[in-house]
Amino acid sequence: MHDIVNLEAAGLAGVFLASTEFIDAAAAQARALGADPAVVFVPHPIQDRTDDELRALADDALDAVLASITGSPPER
């Protein structure tokens, strides 16, 4: 999350993707950094998913990702 916060400070709109296991840790890190970056969560687990399952997770996350880095609804 440091990277996103630093890149935001440089003027880039950013979003950080993490598994739902990371929800509490993400909140704590954000507080620790005094920032509030955009985060999109994907359902845990990650490590033992098949490639197809991971691609499906990416498809599912795409709308939220695009919404977080633009000022308007995502294109389709």
């Binding site: 400070a9 890190q29 507080r31 620790a32 950094l33 005094g34």
Partner: protein, 482 residues
């Protein structure tokens, strides 16, 4: 700082600590009181609630809340309380005083008549300081920023845009409380309305920025006066920020306070090396940028800027041959003042050969002629800082400051022909219609003369000013309060 009132139980109240031999001495007397006194006897212990054993211990006052509220100096202290109010108090052990207070004459048989007490724990310097700080911190109103565990406090202040580019002292609540001890003013008093955002700025906000600048508490009254002076309509801080010209506030401090807080009027008076000079000027700038919102690139659009905008603050020599700036401006020598001047950078005047006041004055005139531009009279102010070696020429010749001003003024009457646009092949200048007029380089009141600097060096200094009058800035003097 006033103590918080605690409602006391009626009857007799004693405060003791185990660590005090006199308290140990009177431990049996306290037991006696329990037995003989008709009303309640309440005992507080500052260090160990199991003391005194003779009374089965005491109420725990290790956090010293009751002790602080009673403003104790000494233990044991014995009080009589009626209707929730203290009506009598005695400290240490004295049979007579205890008898008088309690109405029981037979106390402490076998004890000496009298034994002084010990210091109350509330008098311990570290404890007293922590208590005052905690009390003070509760009165602070500014928003608190809790830095993340991973944040470096120096970096965090930079990242939040609080810095002028140089590092800051982190303004913790304890530091701000300590800074506020430097003034008697209430922390929530409004000092000034700060441009450009026109924010009402409290003493507390000034204190926070003064901490960041590196000030000591005793500098705070000077900083407060500087903020007040800078935010007057006449000084026109807003205009000064918004102009593309690069003047910034220069602070000249006068009066006994300059010695009291250790300011520098001598060698390097306008240079680095003195904490008071450096941090007072910086604190003013930080208040303007942080509270007022006057940041470079935003409202502050100075084309080039100059290093004096980090800080420019100095003290004059106070008992020199000439009147000080503040005396010239109508104050008594013993008054403490700040004078704010919209100044650019400092340039030097070299004159190592003039032995007469006439010659030296002509040097000054020649150099002053060129402030802003040799062909621009009246519109811009200036400050001349005459250093000791140069002042000696005037002292030896018996020229008062007033005489110097008059002679200098006469030399700065300039023929319009020299200054009209196009003269000397320079397009800048005054309108051609003024060719036949003689104009003074400086308007009335447009030239400030100060005296500072080290004892060796035949070099004086000129600080050019900004535009004068309604569109520009007027030098402003304010008395330093407490």
């Amino acid at each position: 700082m006033t103590a918080v009132e605690t409602r006391l139980p009626d009857g007799l109240v004693a405060i003791v600590k185990r660590e005090c031999p006199t308290c140990t001495l009177v431990a049996p007397v306290l037991a006696e009181l329990r037995a003989k006194h008709p009303g309640p006897v309440t005992i507080y212990s500052q260090d160990d609630p199991s003391f005194p054993e003779t009374t089965g211990g005491a109420i725990d006052d290790r956090d010293l809340e009751v002790s602080f509220s009673l403003e104790l100096d000494t233990v044991p202290t014995l009080l009589r309380v009626e209707g929730g109010r203290e009506t009598a108090r005695t400290v240490g052990w004295s049979r007579d005083h205890w008898a008088e207070l309690t109405g029981i004459s037979t106390l402490g048989a076998g004890l000496p008549e009298y034994r002084p007490g010990c210091g109350s724990r509330t008098q311990d310097p570290a404890i007293a300081l922590a208590h005052a700080t905690a009390l003070g911190e509760r009165t602070l109103r500014s928003r608190r920023l809790d830095l993340g565990a991973e944040e470096d406090d120096a970096e965090a202040m930079y990242e939040r845009g609080w810095s002028d580019g140089l590092p800051l002292v982190p303004p913790t609540p304890a530091r701000v409380v300590r800074m506020l001890t430097g003034t008697t003013r209430d922390s929530q008093e409004i000092v000034a309305t700060i441009p450009p955002d026109l924010v009402d700025c409290t003493v507390e906000k000034v204190a926070i920025n003064a901490v960041m600048a590196g000030c000591r508490p005793e500098y705070l009254p000077v900083v407060l006066a500087a903020v007040e002076a800078a935010c007057t309509d006449e000084f026109n801080m807003h205009g000064l920020l918004a102009t593309t010209w690069f003047s910034g506030p220069v602070i000249v401090v006068n009066g006994p306070i300059t010695r009291a807080i250790g300011m520098n009027s001598g060698i390097n008076a306008l240079g680095p090396g003195n904490r008071a000079n450096a941090t007072i000027g910086r604190a003013l700038q930080l208040v303007i940028r942080n509270v007022g919102g006057g940041r470079p690139g935003a409202v502050d659009r100075a084309t080039l800027g100059q290093p004096g905008k980090y800080t420019c603050c100095f003290a004059e020599h106070e008992d020199a041959y000439w009147d000080t700036l503040h005396v010239e401006r109508g104050y008594r020598p013993e008054q403490n003042t700040v004078t704010l001047f919209a100044g650019e950078g400092v340039r030097g005047v070299v004159d190592q050969l003039s032995r007469t006041p006439e010659s030296l004055t002509r040097s000054f005139a020649a150099c002053l002629r060129t402030t802003a531009h040799p062909k621009l009279p009246i519109a811009f102010d200036a400050m001349l800082i005459v250093t000791p070696d140069h002042l000696r020429v005037y002292e030896e010749a018996g020229w008062s400051k007033a005489r110097f001003r008059a002679e200098l003024g006469a030399l700065l009457q300039i023929d319009g022909h020299e200054m009209v646009r196009g003269a000397d092949g320079i397009e800048e200048g005054i309108p051609g219609s003024l060719a036949d007029v003689t104009l003074p380089k400086f308007r009335d009141g447009g030239l400030l003369i100060a005296h500072a600097g080290g004892g060796a060096g035949l070099f004086s200094g000129i600080i050019g000013g900004w535009a004068s009058g309604k569109m520009g800035s007027e030098p402003v003097t304010r008395e330093v309060g407490s």
